[in-house]
Symmetry: none
Amino acid sequence: MNWEDLARQLTLKTPTKIVLLVLDGLGDLPTQGQTPLEEAHTPHLDALARESVCGVTDPVLMGITPGSGPAHLSLFGYDPTKYLLGRGILEALGIGVDVGPHDLVARGNFATLREGLIVDRRAGRIPTEENRRLCEQLNQAWQKKTHPQVTLYPGKEHRFVVKFTAPDLSDALSDADPQKENKPLTYTRALAPEAEETARLVNQFIDEVTELLKDEPKANTVLLRGFARHPTLPTMTELYQLHPAAIAHYPMYKGLAKLVGMEILEVGPKTEDIFHVLEENYHHYDFFYLHFKKTDSAGEDGHREAKIRAIEELDTFIPRLLQLKPEVLVVTSDHSTPCALKGHSWHPNPLLLHAATARIDQVERFSELACQAGHLGRFPALSVMPLMLAHAGKLKKFGA
Amino acid sequence: MNWEDLARQLTLKTPTKIVLLVLDGLGDLPTQGQTPLEEAHTPHLDALARESVCGVTDPVLMGITPGSGPAHLSLFGYDPTKYLLGRGILEALGIGVDVGPHDLVARGNFATLREGLIVDRRAGRIPTEENRRLCEQLNQAWQKKTHPQVTLYPGKEHRFVVKFTAPDLSDALSDADPQKENKPLTYTRALAPEAEETARLVNQFIDEVTELLKDEPKANTVLLRGFARHPTLPTMTELYQLHPAAIAHYPMYKGLAKLVGMEILEVGPKTEDIFHVLEENYHHYDFFYLHFKKTDSAGEDGHREAKIRAIEELDTFIPRLLQLKPEVLVVTSDHSTPCALKGHSWHPNPLLLHAATARIDQVERFSELACQAGHLGRFPALSVMPLMLAHAGKLKKFGA
């Protein structure tokens, strides 16, 4: 029996509240003797660590670097190797596209077709403005089309997301992308018999776009990759009997939260706004997922000083959060983003869990190494949700 | 999805190099206040531990004592509870028998048959010389036999390995061994319909041996156990895109390395030769498995002083190894062999991982207890391969 089966049997509705605060990409490497988290001045997080039980988590498996999708699913208690999120879905979530059960999405490029060959897979990286204009023009052209309904959502430069809406669409489709330049325009192929009709509709779309854009100098066709339908995940309400809410600035994290059935609360652009929205809504939900992005962005940029400043900024809001007295507060990360690697990594995440039932350990600071010595030790991130529910009194005894 | 599935999706070919140095049976118990590893003077391993990330590994599951097969498979990233190696295979590998896809092997005893009863299951433990003579005589007698081809390989005293070669042999066979003395000569039985013909061939072999040896005073028949065919394992090249090589003195470890597709490098008998061969071949491979046996042999003999000396000897070669600057160096063991137990045990193995991306911890010494406090904590040995690949930059991100 796995955690999901146990959760369905053992969870209990109670008035207690859980706050999960995720500092995205927090973990790092001691490239200058200390990690950014060790170097940062974090009096409030450190004081909290002293009154908490600590540990470090592996998002998927030791050594595996997770994308944002798998890393968050794990924290929400969903096995990320069971619930696979297609690239198209993540891309769509990332630019805020709403994906429903009858939708099929894909990542797209505008590209240049000349004499039957794709001569530029990125249409000369057309400006984002140009991209917006083209998407608008195409959406206009198709607004009366109903089978399927088609909508394009512009991304940066030549990138977009396309959403097809119709009953019974399949995502068992090959990429409609020659991968290399100076190859012929490539159509999608059905990878399963039930995808034949969808492949026909998608290829008809490619032909229509190419016809509509035939007078464009650069962006006169499209390539499509990573076809994906909406994944079916049980909601956190079904699994845990929670009434959960998400407070996040970026579309990707709002999208992930929505996939597991959280309500998405509107929030202003500042860090302070996250805590303000939490306070405003505190009585209406029993689980809050708070997402702080700046630590990850600084890591991706390799900007150590910015990462330290981001951590120090976040630290100042801890007292305000504690005033709400949530029964369970977890501060952790989804994955590490070391400045030296300028990207996600496999290194484990520091975690503290604050609750009346925590077996408080000797950890004096909130940092990667200090937390490792905590009573929770090193453990899979998939165990964070059971621990939070347990400390909130929301899990019954297993067996008699 | 398990590690093997992830590996097939995520591994990447890069020029970086990994060295896995296995000190066989290293872990021990503090029978005289300290373990042999703690008592040994190991300035180089200790200095390396200070610049590494450390932990301890469980070869299979906590409490499970592994044989050399499962313990090594785990380190190579193969789930040892999925890939079961028959005793016959291990015995064959142990004496250097080459086992191919059309081979069936079994462990054998010469035994004494009198008036239809097995009166001595070990033929009075005949001298190894006698064993060699008998195997040679029997191989001579069968050299023209083609279905199956049969070859005997002498072991120590009364023990041998027999290899049958023919298409479509099955290993679904019961042991041809009465287990107790003063029981009748026992034939093998087919445990599945497809093994009927193999059972007939094996029993015909038993009858032929018994006829050929009828004038021998003691060794006048054979018992056969642990029938096993060549296991089919995906190679490390298929799974990880590695070009791996093994440097080991003993046939068992060469055989295990060969099972997972490593190339076996010829090596002289001294410890120094291991490092010499590594240097000579360093540019031709991207993964090296180095096997050091003396620690295990000393443990098996219960010879604490010898174990300490073996560890100290190995320590002197660490600087030479570091001069090669492998991107990833792991020093660990396959299993513990405590002197007090004179055999393998279930105690976890100390491990250090040296790499530019290691989150270096506070561990000051390379020992069982010191490593436990490292940032890797206590973890399954099956995670060693993903960690090595990750630190070598050979694993892509999982999901988006």
